[in-house]
Point group: C2
Chain length 501, copies 2
């Protein structure tokens, strides 16, 4: 008996979708790095054509029919094939459950909202953006009721889309611990000895920054045979495929820390992409990674390694070698303490790794208030400002440096912010698990980080999106998400830097 | 009454073909400028997918049906629509007239031939390549008989594919005049005073070369809002659309002339693309320009402007300004004479603009011998060497610097070489026509080349591929191809440089 479809049919559709996405990724990368400015309208036309092709493939009735067929005949598929069908069904339903007219209207509103957000920022006035935000929220609540398959709270539905299996109950507990622990640590640091970080503004030429940063990134395993570095205003990593994961950065010759940590960060994303198992080529498992786990790998590079005393005490001489006499008068201790200064900021993207999670917790609590407690949109700025005053001890003087700072809500991206904080927590939990298996002090002393690279490849990267972050974390560390590793690490590090007794 | 197809249907197919070509152009550009080396197999897969899409569109029965319909109902199309149908029919038949099995076999043989050519080059031995070349020629002769619609000679069929309307009879006359005129001029130059070009090997930093060359290119009208410059081993221009025509170059800090003239050359190609009329967007007329007319525009920049005494006598101070004291001791006359040294070479791509056409004439005569006189492939190297000895006064010492230097024949590209020489001749004929309408001495003195830019845009670039080179030439200069303009210009220039009485 011959079935209506074979696994090859499924893989052929997935391959075509992958090829189009690879193509779109390159066009996107090019738009931000190389494209002449007048080419924008032509590029928009081409992207729209390709998006149409891709959309037609993924939402077509033939594809739906194929998924339905295999759901009824799973035995005709390999284990991977079955897993792909489950994964694709979830994606398919996300769009298919929304009436087309509503989807189109919603797209239009998010587009208008992004314009309104820009105008509101110029005027530093949230009320310009508020009516659009209210409409987005109304649609989103309607969609939640369509998507919901028995979640405890409405916001759980959104969380699950970005972080499969994560719940409000779990996040309340996790973020609660983080908030309490951080509050305690910050109270202690206030009595500590704050370092001076003036030396970080010394002139370091762009070329030296680039050479040094790329040497570090490559030592951590980022391959330039499968990547490259370009300049952009907003740094990012874009992967076409596992052999083409490109990073970008920006430069300030009087703030070299920005490029060093920025390059380590993007190279961390690149490492993940470059090391996904080839068995997932041309499947969604090569590209549908949750943002939290992806961010855990960029942050592992940037924060776990890039802020580690053990790492820097061995690599500081390399920085000195790349920068002539610039830091000849600065001993390691002075350098490292400058490197680690922490200070609350109003802007999330300028936050240091210690205060960063607080920015996310504020957004998480507000999103919960929106979807679970139906708070009024007009009341959001006051809530925002009050939480900044309470958690970070500083209060926005206007909406631009307050509630208007992120574009996410204008695009309807609710439930996404927590991933940024999860990345920090996962990275620390991975590091703890790794430290139980590897002789990290010896590895840092050797300056050969191959065992760290190998551990990460084996426990994290190879899986791509074939496992959820929660599954990867459990396999690698033996337990579910536990914020104590992050808190313990930060407490240890900053207590020393701030010379607490 | 409603027709089977409307002009919109035709334009929609043409637009999709154009979008795919634009996309493939960007992938090609990226492969040569930015792509990490390990990405090659993934890129090949993507290109093959897109080529398949494009091929299916252009050779599909629906498209053929559409062309046939409009050939029967031309009145249902605008004038542009009718012209597009004629253009597309010619392209369609080129492939459609060849039996599929033969086409596939031919593709295979050209692929093998290119490998054999590479091996033959390594061994400097034409006989390794000869059997593949013989097979290609056999196929090509068969195809000619299928394509032929009453040409005078078989080789006319090939010429017409690259240069519509051009014939062996015309080229024999044109190239005959060039050969005779050049022979006479070279005999005179042998008695002239050869300049010393040692100063051209003085060190000029890459950045200074780039800044200077790009300033010149932009003065001639190349727009960086619609283009950019990158480094490659083999310089080229690649256009995605009229607002995205990118150029590349290579650098030698002890031979700055290479990059200056190379950038002017590629910017000339870019100028053509950037200035095609928007009415041809998303039609084949934005991209099917004959190589001869395209090359006439790169050569106009490189040779007509880039070797002009009037141009350099005004721009040499700019070069001096960009290069510190490097040429402070060199007066203009010494500089310009060094710039213009001419010397026969064995390699076509290293030839100066005076001897270049001879390389092409040799190839033209050999191709004619192959297709019109059925010469034996085994006899080609001897014929090649004899012609180099006769026309250029130097003889290849092996096949690598002789008949194996060009890849064209390995790809089956016969009839293509003449375009390179036609570019030189057209450029000079355009320049002569322009000089009758513009006050060129005043323009060069002003260093504002806008009138030249405007003339070229109006008489050449705007048409894209909507007119043949012969039509454009006739409209712009009032006569058909006439080599006397090129000969007169070269004679005037080199007689002065070589201080003939």
């Amino acid at each position: 008996m011959v079935g209506k479809y074979t696994e090859n049919d499924l893989r052929a559709v997935l391959k075509e979708i992958s090829l189009l996405e690879e193509n779109q990724a390159l066009l996107g990368w090019d738009s931000l790095t190389g494209m002449p400015e007048d080419a924008a309208p032509f590029r928009a036309e081409l992207l729209s054509y390709l998006a149409g092709k891709s959309f037609a493939l993924q939402t077509g009735t033939e594809y739906a029919d194929m998924l339905t067929y295999f759901e009824a005949h799973p035995a005709e598929l390999s284990a991977l094939g079955q897993q792909l069908v489950i994964h694709e069904r979830k994606k398919y339903d996300l769009n298919a459950k929304i009436p087309t007219a509503d989807f189109i209207e919603y797209q239009k509103i998010t587009s208008l909202a992004q314009d309104a957000w820009t105008k509101a920022r110029a005027a530093k006035d949230f009320s310009i953006f508020a009516p659009y935000l209210a409409q987005i929220i109304t649609y989103k609540k309607q969609f939640i009721s369509l998507w919901d398959q028995g979640s405890t709270t409405p916001y759980d539905v959104l969380l699950d889309q970005y972080e499969p299996g994560l719940t409000v109950a779990k996040l309340d507990q996790v973020f609660g611990e983080v908030k309490a622990g951080l509050s305690e640590l910050q109270a202690q640091l206030a009595h500590g000895e704050a370092p001076d970080n003036q030396i970080l503004s010394r002139f370091v030429a762009k070329q030296a920054q680039s050479d040094f940063s790329m040497e570090l990134a490559q030592k951590l395993g980022y391959s330039l045979k499968k990547g490259r570095l370009d300049d952009t205003i907003h740094p990012f990593m874009e992967a076409m495929n596992r052999n083409d994961a490109r990073i970008t950065t920006r430069w300030d010759e009087h703030d070299f820390q920005m490029a060093v940590l920025g390059i380590l960060h993007e190279a961390g994303h690149g490492l993940f992409e470059q090391n996904i198992s080839p068995e997932f080529d041309y499947t969604p498992f090569e590209k549908d990674m949750a943002m939290s786990i992806h961010e855990s790998q960029s942050l592992f590079n940037e924060v776990i390694i890039g802020r580690s005393e053990e790492f820097w005490c061995n690599e500081y001489p390399l920085l000195q070698a790349y920068t002539g006499n610039t830091f000849a008068d600065i001993d390691f201790d002075t350098f490292y303490r400058a490197w680690m200064v922490t200070k609350p900021t109003l802007i999330r993207t300028e936050a240091d790794p210690l205060t960063y999670p607080l920015h996310i917790i504020i957004r998480y609590e507000i999103e919960k208030a929106i979807f679970n407690d139906d708070i009024n949109v007009a009341d959001l700025p006051a809530l925002w400002n009050a939480k900044y005053a309470e958690y970070l001890g500083i209060e926005p003087t206007n909406d631009l440096v307050g509630i208007l700072q992120d574009i996410h809500w204008a695009g309807g991206d609710f439930g996404y912010f927590p991933s940024y904080a999860l990345g920090h927590l996962y990275a620390a939990q991975f590091f703890d698990a790794m430290s139980k298996e590897l002789d990290l002090p010896a590895i840092f002393a050797s300056k050969d980080y191959t065992p760290i690279y190998t551990w990460r490849k084996e426990h994290i990267w190879q899986y791509g999106a074939s496992k959820t972050p929660q599954e990867i974390l459990l396999l690698a560390s033996g337990e579910t998400l536990n914020p104590k590793y992050w808190l313990a690490l930060q407490t240890k590090i900053y207590s020393k830097v701030y010379r607490l007794a």
